[in-house]
Symmetry: C2
Subunit: 84 residues, 2 copies
Amino acid sequence: MPEFTVKVYVRRKEGVLDPEGNTIAGAIASIGYKGISSVRTGKIFIIRLEAPSADSARKDMEKVADKLLSNPIIEDYTVTVEQV
Amino acid sequence: MPEFTVKVYVRRKEGVLDPEGNTIAGAIASIGYKGISSVRTGKIFIIRLEAPSADSARKDMEKVADKLLSNPIIEDYTVTVEQV
């Protein structure tokens, strides 16, 4: 079966507070970089898998993103698929 | 000054163990998705800032990625810049 690399990007929805991002924004300013208006944080999951097709890999990993990798109440995700 | 969105992707270098990724790979298999060969985890930082140019935003945020956002011993980062 062909092998794919699926990348799942998970980030907080617009409007959801990001205290880690705010702390980092303060830290960046404190080492001398001005002009930062916001920092938002997120996660990446890079999944290598065998699947019958890119479409099937995407559908399966979208379900995984929804069930395991994100909290759909406060987070959005995007999924990209590349054949290896 | 123009405003930019800088995205910093931080991930473990090849060969560095990723216990969180291994746990997730096991969890994905346990809910019925077979064929996973590996899961690697990483972080994204989405930084909004004002800067004189895209080049200056990139250079500054590369230094920030190196000093604050990553551990260069075990992690690699990539930086992308888009004008808002």
